[in-house]
Amino acid sequence: MESSVRKKLLPSAKGKSFLKQRWLYIMMLLPLTSLIIWNYIPMYGIIISFKDYSPAFGILHSPWVGFDHFERFFNAFYFKDVIINTLRISLYSLAVGVPLPIILALMFNEIRNKKYKSIVQTISYIPNFISVIIIVGMVMFFTSPVDGVINAVIQYFGGEPIDFIGNPRLFPHVFVWSGIWQSVGWGTLIYTAAMSGIPQDQYEAAYIEGASRLKCIWYITIPAIMPTIVICTILATGSVMSVGFEKVLLMQNDANLATSEVLSTYMYKAGILNAEYSFSAAVGFFNNLINFIVLYLVNKFAQKFSETSLW
């Protein structure tokens, strides 16, 4: 309906509508300028991934080397491992991290006692405010095979202590679930907000018709928050190759390196520690290219199969 109104206004009213909304356009100038200055202009730096960058010559005057850095990355011994590790952790995070906040939000929504509900919600998202280094410290502390709480429980029930953080097979689990513990409560907020916008009379009508609570969730709540779910999922998949860098680096050690070396840590070691800026810019470029392609494909998919999409 809205679009038909707009159509009526066009094209004769084009100039008029611009005049009418000039305040908005002028207001937009400021964020736009900031975006251009901070996000678009620095992008020219990406050219160093095709150059042999040295601080002595600067970005513009370093010699060109074509695709050398990309070739080196694709031929690197660890290329396959790093990609697989990155995908393993990020897909795992997606698979768990997307549905869990939705489920939790649905559960919150069914709590009738207002006071109790807000207390539980607050408790659930407090971990989000703890800095990642503290989280990792806590994980190390709880999972220590010598004096950790979790292993104390395991040993109490007669089990062998498990070295969670030093075992490459367990690393993705520890990483993903500690992340869930931290962020699941915060993730529910956006869904809770979406749910609060659902008109209560729909539930009342369903109740009078004799629908059970589960049916209400299934036929009213979920369809109502579906657009939010789709948008959140698309945005989450857009960063499929980007795994939280600090946390991985903090949890990394020689013992779990086989599964914990991901693109971002690999880039950090090559780029910052070994000062190979061009090489790590190439790796980063590749990383973002994949992210963008995935985002584009998922969005296309969403366009085709649902009414919501990013663009």
């Binding site: 000039r22 305040w23 002028i26 100038l29 400021l30 300028t33 200055i37 040295s54 601080p55 002595a56 010559f57 600067g58 080196r72 690197a76 011994f77 660890y78 190390m140 220590s144 095979p145 010598v146 070295d163 953080i165 030093g166 050690n253 020689d254 013992a255 779990n256 390196l257 086989a258 070396e261 070691k269 090559a270 910052i272 520690l273 070994n274 000062a275 190979e276 800026y277």
Partner: protein, 531 residues
């Protein structure tokens, strides 16, 4: 009315744009102005240094007694810029428009020195040294190893060194073993790898601290230390330790035919791994050797008398309360009787002072630093001045009482006054262990097991690499280091069987380019010997 309001808003919009644009322009203008003013403010007697920060432990450099005193003595004013985590930042700093005059105590690899030297960021110093630094020049003339260790592959010298002529000092990493526990169990200090294994196994099973709880650890250090401490020391015992610490750190050793070989691909290394694996399985090497223990946890555990053995250059590292429980072992004879201590080259740091292209008066900087390559300068760097920070006692130089009674130990006490206390890669020549010990009214430890025979036959510096070699080997070394680190964990903890997997392991090393790397190192060694 309406028009004027619109006019105002448009004006506001353009103003904001203008502000943003001039904001940027103004900023850069301001900073260049700043540079200019500081430039003009800098007379020839003012130089700027960038260095790592120790300000969590002691006063900032500009407030440190030593540097205030040296400013008076030399007439040169130093502007110190101090940064923490400098290892990550140093390369980024090179992108600054205006570099500091010199990097002080910043570690650059010889590949980096050569690269930035040839690109003109760092100045070649050999002629300037001749002219302005007689003390350092004398060392270069008299000691071939120092000259060779400092000279880049292009024949230039890009840095002044941290020199330590004494293998009895911080150059050697030793094994410290708990003498109290040995005495409690009636055991001798181990002389061989087998005896060490026996002692550590006894430590973890026979309750040597006598508290009735099985809380004793054998070899125990912060996670991740094993590979570059204990393991490298054991390389000496298993016949692959000749070449010194820097060589072992680069995965190479010098074999009996004076040829470079790879430690990590040798049969000796296989035996080292098996030895470590046995001890790990029995608990003689701590189960958290690879993850989960940081320095704080380790020292806390040590204070509870639970540490059996560990490696370092000096016993203080484990903490004041228990350091006297431990006795040092420099070498252990291996199964074939091999011994070689884990000793570094006397050119312990090859990039202690690097002068950049933006230095106004490089000669003055060299003159400034040359003092510390004299005996007087060494004493000044470590002890300070007689009557101020030390006094003479029976012909010994001894710190003043404020330092001796400092709450966190003598070392940190001295660090409140002077800089060169911890052998931390200062441009400087180290004092003898006897003088250093006497400064704290102590006696230097006497090592009967550190002799001409047990020292490595050669102690190499970082072998000078050409630009091409550095480019080629840096990615190979990074991959090798990664892979060996991973495999060490799997072999030592026993998730992979050493005998079964060894051929696989060697094949992987070759895939990563270990042969090419070995060839590069062999050529570098040949050049090094001829230089």
């Amino acid at each position: 009315m309406f028009r004027s309001r619109k006019g105002k808003v448009v004006l506001l919009g353009t103003l904001m744009m203008a502000l943003l644009v001039t904001g940027c322009g103004g900023n850069s203008g301001g900073s260049t102005e700043n540079n200019k003013s500081s430039e003009s403010g800098k007379t020839s007697s003012s130089i700027s240094f960038l260095r790592p920060s120790w300000n969590n432990l002691r006063p900032a450099s500009k407030d440190l007694w030593m540097w205030q005193e040296y400013e008076k003595m030399s007439g040169v004013q130093v502007e110190w810029e101090e940064l923490s985590d400098i290892g990550e930042k140093k390369n980024v700093i090179l992108t600054r428009k205006q570099l500091p005059d010199a990097f002080y105590q910043v570690d650059w690899s010889n590949g980096e020195l050569l690269k930035y030297g040839q690109q003109g960021l760092f100045l070649p110093l050999e002629d300037l040294i001749k002219e302005h630094a007689p003390n350092l020049q004398k060392l270069l003339d008299e000691n071939e190893d120092i000259r060779k260790g400092l000279t880049s592959a292009d024949g230039h010298i890009y840095a002044t060194p941290y020199l330590d002529p004494y293998p009895e000092g911080n150059r050697t990493i030793r094994l410290y073993i708990n003498k109290k526990w040995l005495d409690n169990l009636g055991m001798e200090v181990p002389k061989t790898t087998a005896e060490l294994e026996e002692a550590l196994n006894a430590f973890v099973t026979q309750d040597p601290n006598g508290n009735g709880v099985n809380d004793e650890q054998g070899w125990y250090m912060p996670s991740g230390s094993l590979g570059w401490t204990f393991e490298q020391m054991m390389m000496g015992s298993f016949g692959i330790g000749n070449g010194g610490r820097k060589a072992l750190g680069n995965f190479i050793y010098v074999d009996d035919n004076d040829e470079i070989q790879l430690t990590i691909a040798s049969d000796g290394y296989k035996e080292v791994l098996k030895y470590e694996n046995r001890m790990y399985e029995s608990g003689a090497i701590n189960k958290q050797a690879f993850s989960g223990v940081d320095y704080d946890k380790w020292t806390a555990d040590a204070a509870k008398d639970t540490v059996g053995a560990w490696n370092w250059a000096a016993p203080d590292y484990i903490g004041e309360s228990v350091k006297n429980d431990f006795v040092p072992i420099n070498v252990l004879a291996g199964p074939d009787g091999d011994t070689a201590s884990l000793t570094d080259s006397q050119v312990a740091g090859a990039s202690s002072l690097v002068i950049t292209k933006d230095a106004k008066d490089p000669g003055a900087i060299l003159k400034w630093v040359d003092y510390f390559y004299s005996e007087e300068g060494s004493v000044f760097g470590y002890l300070g001045k007689e009557g101020v920070t030390y006094n003479m006692e029976d012909s010994n130089m001894v710190y003043i009482d404020e330092i001796l009674n400092y709450k966190d130990g003598i070392g940190l006490g001295a660090f409140q006054y002077v800089d060169n206390v911890y052998g931390g890669y200062f441009p400087y020549i180290e004092l003898s262990p006897e003088i250093r010990a006497a400064a704290g009214r102590q006696e230097a430890p006497v090592y009967t097991d550190l002799t001409e025979e047990t020292l490595p036959g050669v102690t190499l510096p970082d072998l000078p690499a050409t630009q091409e070699e550095a480019n080629e080997s840096s990615s190979i070394v990074a991959d090798l280091g990664n892979y060996v680190g991973q495999m060490r964990v799997e072999f030592v903890t026993g998730t992979k069987d050493i005998d079964q997997e060894w051929d696989n392991y060697i094949a992987q090393l070759k895939k990563m380019g270990s042969d090419k790397y070995l060839q590069i190192k062999q050529e570098q060694y040949k050049r090094y010997k001829e230089s």
